[in-house]
Amino acid sequence: MAIYTEKVMEHIASPRNVGVLEDADGVGTVGNPVCGDMMKIYIKVNGDRIDDIRFQTFGCGAAIATSSILTELAKGKSLDEAMAITRDTVARELGGLPAQKMHCSNLAADGLHEAIRDYQARREGQE
């Protein structure tokens, strides 16, 4: 069957920014293993910018590729710019995703938003 674009396959083959940021400023966790897709996004924030970002993903090819490209998209962006990254942005960047993957496996943007909110909550906690 037709499934993934070359771009997607390329990210599955060599996912960018895999792993943990031990001193993360914010962490976002989305999905659950029962659905077969689970994702954790770690960000390091410097001023208003995302300085570093890492992900861990349990899931199908789409889940891995969306996580990977999201980290590329978000790196260096301001928090506002990062919040503006949506599932659609991610899918578009990858040259499209199969319909059935759009809603289930395309969680990375949600994970990033979670991580930013976590960062903001921690900061508020400090204030």
């Binding site: 954790k40 993903t57 090819g61």
Partner: protein
């Protein structure tokens, strides 16, 4: 990159001998088997020879073999055609099947429930994928007309106890249908020994062409057509017969009769080498299905902390064709209904990889696959590591 094809339960390459047998029927012996002239008679005779070789492989007689457009159509013909036959409709509306059937059986049963007023019992299976015979026995009712249980499961390879089902049914007027698409070629099959009344076969799983199948219907079993048209296949399946395809199916069955047993033995040995190799080098792996009562070609493995599609995409990048579950559900995201019925926890079920060997599989391919799989699992577990699944 060389392709290492380990997805023989999805489909098989057509054997060159089968292609050779088919070829003349495209361009030279192209008659319509219903035509009276010599070109038609020639096609008709060739079809008759194919019918004999399919029949003799399963201990049936040729007039009990009905050619169809594939396994799915055969399953539909058996179930819709039997349950929908006016006489059987009057006799009852209860059907018994299992939770681990192929979608061609499950979805047909669900259709009968939804739109034709039938009642269907879906029997459970144990952790090895073997149907619960007590549940089956207990679910037989006065209006039960049909039991459909597959002979071998397409995902986990477990062989089902059809002979025992026959014993339980005894001589009650209940027809037994079995989907033997994955069993054909993988074990000796005799419709009389098994005591089944209908059996589904498909050519493309046994080195024959795609788009050809057969339904065995025991003489006297009332099955109506599900499509309508000409009087082909003794009024059970209309449409100009796919003569080259049918000839190819016949040849494929002939080859199974000739080489099947030897191939099986070799494939089982390679499969064991594969499973043992993976088990020895990768942690947290389980073999799905029955440890011994399984078809030789099937190795279904669950890798904790990996998702099946990610696994198979990485294998694919290394040239290895595998599957996670069955090909026809690869578009769906639901985890396998088979593993669910076997009680495999859903987060484990997501990590399933099905490797199905074939007669062309070599030891080198197996060893390469074990190596590749070891590193692929490592890599994928690396991506998901801290998630603790």
């Amino acid at each position: 990159m060389k392709t290492i094809y380990l997805d023989h339960s999805a489909t098989t390459p057509v054997d060159p001998e089968v292609v050779q047998a088919m070829l003349p029927f495209f361009t030279e012996r192209y008659g319509n088997a219903s035509s009276i002239h010599h070109a038609g008679r020639d096609a008709y005779d060739a079809m008759g020879a194919a019918r004999e070789s399919v029949a003799s492989l399963i201990g049936a007689s040729p007039d009990e073999i009905y050619f169809t457009g594939g396994g799915t159509e055969s399953d539909n013909l058996a179930i819709q055609g039997y349950a929908g036959h006016p006489v059987n409709r009057k006799r009852g509306k209860h059907i018994i099947t299992s939770k681990i059937e192929h979608h061609a059986v499950l979805h047909t049963c669900q259709f009968l429930e939804r739109q034709r007023g039938h009642r269907v019992t879906y029997c459970g299976v144990d952790g090895n994928g073997v149907i619960d015979l007590d549940e089956l026995a207990a679910s037989i009712a006065d209006d039960t007309i049909l039991i459909s249980v597959m002979l071998a499961n397409n995902e986990v390879g477990t062989i089902e106890p059809l002979r025992e089902i026959r014993r339980i049914v005894g001589d009650r007027p209940i027809a037994i249908h079995t989907d033997a698409v994955q069993a054909l070629g993988e074990m000796d099959i005799d419709v009389n020994e098994l005591g089944v009344d209908m059996m589904t076969l498909s050519a493309h799983k046994v080195y024959g062409p795609k788009g050809v199948g057969a339904l065995y219907i025991r003489r006297g079993t009332r099955v109506g057509p599900i499509m309508h048209g000409g009087g082909h296949e003794r009024r059970k399946r209309p449409g100009t017969e796919n003569v080259p395809g049918i000839v190819g199916f016949g040849k494929a069955c002939e080859l199974l009769a000739r080489d099947g047993a030897a191939v099986r033995e070799r494939v089982a040995r390679l499969r064991d080498r594969l499973v043992e190799g993976v088990m020895a080098r990768v942690d947290d792996v389980v073999l799905n299905g029955h440890p011994t009562r399984r078809i030789p070609r099937n190795a279904s493995l669950c890798f904790r902390g990996c998702e099946g599609e990610a696994l198979l995409l990485h294998l694919d990048m290394a040239g290895i064709c595998a599957s996670s579950g069955s090909a026809c559900t690869s578009q769906s995201l639901e985890p396998s209904h088979v593993l669910a019925a076997m009680g495999v926890p859903i987060e484990i079920a997501h990590g399933v990889l099905r490797l199905t060997l074939g007669k062309g599989t070599t030891e080198e391919e197996i060893d390469y696959t074990v190596d590749t799989l070891t590193s692929v699992v490592d890599k994928i577990r690396g991506i998901s590591a801290a998630l603790g699944v």
